[in-house]
Amino acid sequence: MPHTENWAPYVPDDKAPWDLRRVVHLHRRAGFAGTWDELQRDLRDGPGASIDRILAGKTSTHAPAEFAATADLLSTSALASGDINRLKAWWFYRMIFTPDPLGEKLTLMWHDHFATANSKVQDAALMWRQNDALRQHARGRFDAILNASLREPALLFYLDAQTNRKGRANENLARELMELFTLGVGNYSEADVKDAARALTGWTVEDGQFTKVLAQHDSGEKAILGQTGKWTAQNLIDMLLRHPATAQRIAVKLCRLFFGERAIDPEAVRDLGSDLREHDLDVGRTVEKILRSRLFFADANIATRVSGPAEFIAGTVRALGLFDPAPSTLALADWSARMGQDLFDPPNVGGWPSGRAWVHTRSLIARSNFATALMAGRDAGLPSPYNPASLPGSCGLGTGQADLLTFYHRLLFGTDPTESARSRLNGVSGSRLVAVLLSSPEGQLG
């Protein structure tokens, strides 16, 4: 009931000090891992200023001045070639070089939520359009995100909107809209789906554009969620937005992005849902509330979340400072697919199975092979092998084996290696040491 207590703001104290561990945690969750200089800066400046910067999209110290122009150039040429792989590479460029990693993380979350697969859509331009719309609305109010998404030709085509016509309903869009995008299972009936499909008739794509075709629309009476009327698609959308289950579902989604396993209890999630509902489903406001909360920085939430493949890859590249030269983003996209996350191609409309489902033999092997490839340079499109001494050396730190272990452990995990870790890794040195840390079980958690 007193939800303000659940979501009380984080104030550093003895039990939860503002230390390197929490700075690393903040950057891993609200972005794709921090570089050494970003971490040191935020350690000095404290949580308030650090989160301000992240929310404002100004946290990266390695965003080139011409980032926007370069990104546009990359997407334009990807679309000119029609090659979806180049679009995947473009997105990795964005994740690594953007001044606003939080924006990219949220876009990734929405891509998973409004899952649409190019293997069916077969149109890079439409996939880009959808991605662009998700990015634009990523921090907005959910009604803006939902309305925009449901007008994206890629999504409509993916869910067969164009075959949903008066007298010949295709329930795909209606079902996934209610089950996945808004209410969630158990909050509607099959009869609701049928009539929702009728409401959505005529809501379609023509000539690659979203169109409402009146002639295909079933304008009869429909009974949806206990309300009867000649509902249109827009009426349906508004109804779904008002339903309390939608706010709850979005709250769960956001908690899954920012909280680890068992790091938050259902009551707190419910509170967040109610808060969302009271504030027009404002996603950005809720994200801020989460990032500034005591719960977010609690011990239970640190290193208890499995990093997804794109997060793992972009995070590793950023943390190791591989900006110039950067690894081949085409190769990075391919590695991500091998780890189980092929961008623009989720396995089905439910998105990617996440959490522990990211961790299995094939994906762990891919993560380990990726770390090895990054160190060797070749299989990641880098001109030379990784020199583990250069990063600590450039910060004026030692480069002997013990120093390297300390440095990379702090960089990647925010903590010092334990004595047992030191003795176990005694014989491991150089870039092999970095590869081992990256592929360790701890390295999969962020």
Partner: protein, 386 residues
């Protein structure tokens, strides 16, 4: 103690909700694959010429229809008094002798469609009128468990597409072997044994073990596979089976069957590639003691015109031939060879609806409810030994 496979199954639940009631986790464990049975599907793309694959013996119509392309009785691999297989299927001798090859003849569906795309869509969705959005039969079958199916090749065919089914596309052994075996070894600490960390650690140990096993397997001289595409794909499939990744369905394709011209040579090679790869596959599985768990289904989207054309080839036809291979299979010829004289629009009428094959595989092999998947009841063929 939960095995890795059941853990993986229950981990899907863990991923979906913050806390999972114990009974749900337990029922996921109970639903774990009965005896770990596996289905391997080989889709022959292009329309395999059924008439020269399962050849009628003692039917005078055959010689008249195929003056240049006919196969002499003496060259056939005899299955029965009335049916013989193309000589390129001779590598199946041992399987036939052991009763592990089932040949289903006259397979098709009502109102046959002779478009590659549309007919293959019908086979892939098990729907005679597939909508653009219809999911695949295997996708639908695996949906209740949101299971994983492996497509060995470059793309996952529609048959694997489901609402929640995950189709993983693989074509490289490198994806399951470690380029640096030591890398996965390190930093495995006996920490405070936090639940998630312990899980990841166990998976890492498993991954390491599997990768090592596969690397050793790759290095040892197993049964020789033909170095053809299908051979490579089935070799990889066998390796993945040995790695015990927990997948129930593997799907691969062999292309090139659209023999509109100069069919004799091409078809001979195709069937040769097919039979050598499939028999090497089962030999491999036998030596790994995995064969009992595997059944392979091979099919094509249609047969070809019974009358050869002027280019010594054949065009798109109707009723086709399918194969089911494995120790669990009831060998022999199943179904009736279609008449070569009582035709519909110049081509044979089918004698077995393909959905009866699917029904048999779903019900008698994979233990999955066929009626839901096939959206109707089809009497399963008796393709498996009891």
């Amino acid at each position: 103690m939960l095995t890795r496979r059941t853990f993986l199954q229950s981990s899907t639940l863990l991923a979906l909700t913050p806390t999972v009631p114990l009974f749900l986790a337990r029922s996921a464990k109970a639903a774990a694959d009965k005896n770990g049975r596996v289905l391997v599907v080989v889709q022959l793309d292009g329309g395999n010429d059924a008439l020269n694959t399962a050849v009628p013996i003692g039917n005078p119509a055959y010689e008249k229809l195929r003056p240049r392309l006919r196969i002499e009785k003496k060259d056939l691999v005899k299955l029965s008094d009335t049916v013989g297989l193309h000589p390129s299927l001779k590598p199946f001798d041992k399987l036939i002798e052991a009763g592990q090859l089932a040949t289903m003849v006259g397979v098709g569906y009502p109102n046959p469609n002779r478009s590659h795309f549309e007919s293959m869509a019908i086979w892939n969705t098990a729907s005679l009128n597939p909508d653009a959005g219809d999911y695949g039969w295997i996708g639908r079958a695996l949906d209740p468990k949101a299971a994983t199916a492996y497509a060995i090749g470059n793309a996952a065919p529609r048959a694997l597409r489901g609402r929640r089914t995950v189709a993983v596309t693989m074509n490289r052994l490198e994806d399951v072997t470690l380029s640096n075996p030591d890398a996965l070894n390190g930093a495995v600490e006996a920490t405070q044994a936090e639940d998630l960390q312990a899980f990841v650690r166990r998976q890492a140990v498993d991954a390491r073990t599997t990768a090592d096993r596969l690397t050793k397997l790759a290095a040892t001289e197993g049964p020789a596979y033909p170095s053809t595409t299908l051979g490579e794909h089935l070799k990889l499939t066998a390796r993945l089976l040995k790695a015990d990744l927990g997948a129930r369905v593997f799907y691969t394709q062999q292309g090139g069957f659209d023999t509109h011209a100069s069919q004799r040579f091409v078809h001979t090679n195709l069937l040769n590639e097919f039979s050598r790869a499939v028999s090497a596959f089962f030999e491999d599985l036998q030596s790994a003691k995995l064969a009992e768990r595997v059944t392979l289904l091979a099919f094509s989207e249609f047969g070809r015109t019974i009358r050869e054309n002027d280019s010594a080839g054949t065009d798109h036809g109707t009723a086709g031939v399918s194969f089911l291979v494995g120790p669990a299979v009831r060998g022999g010829v199943h179904g009736t060879m279609p008449s070569l004289t009582d035709l519909a629009a110049g081509e044979p009428k089918m004698t077995t609806d393909f959905r009866r094959i699917y029904a048999s595989v779903l019900t008698n092999w994979l233990d999955l409810p066929a009626a839901d998947v096939l959206k109707g009841t089809f009497e399963p063929l008796q393709l498996f030994r009891s």
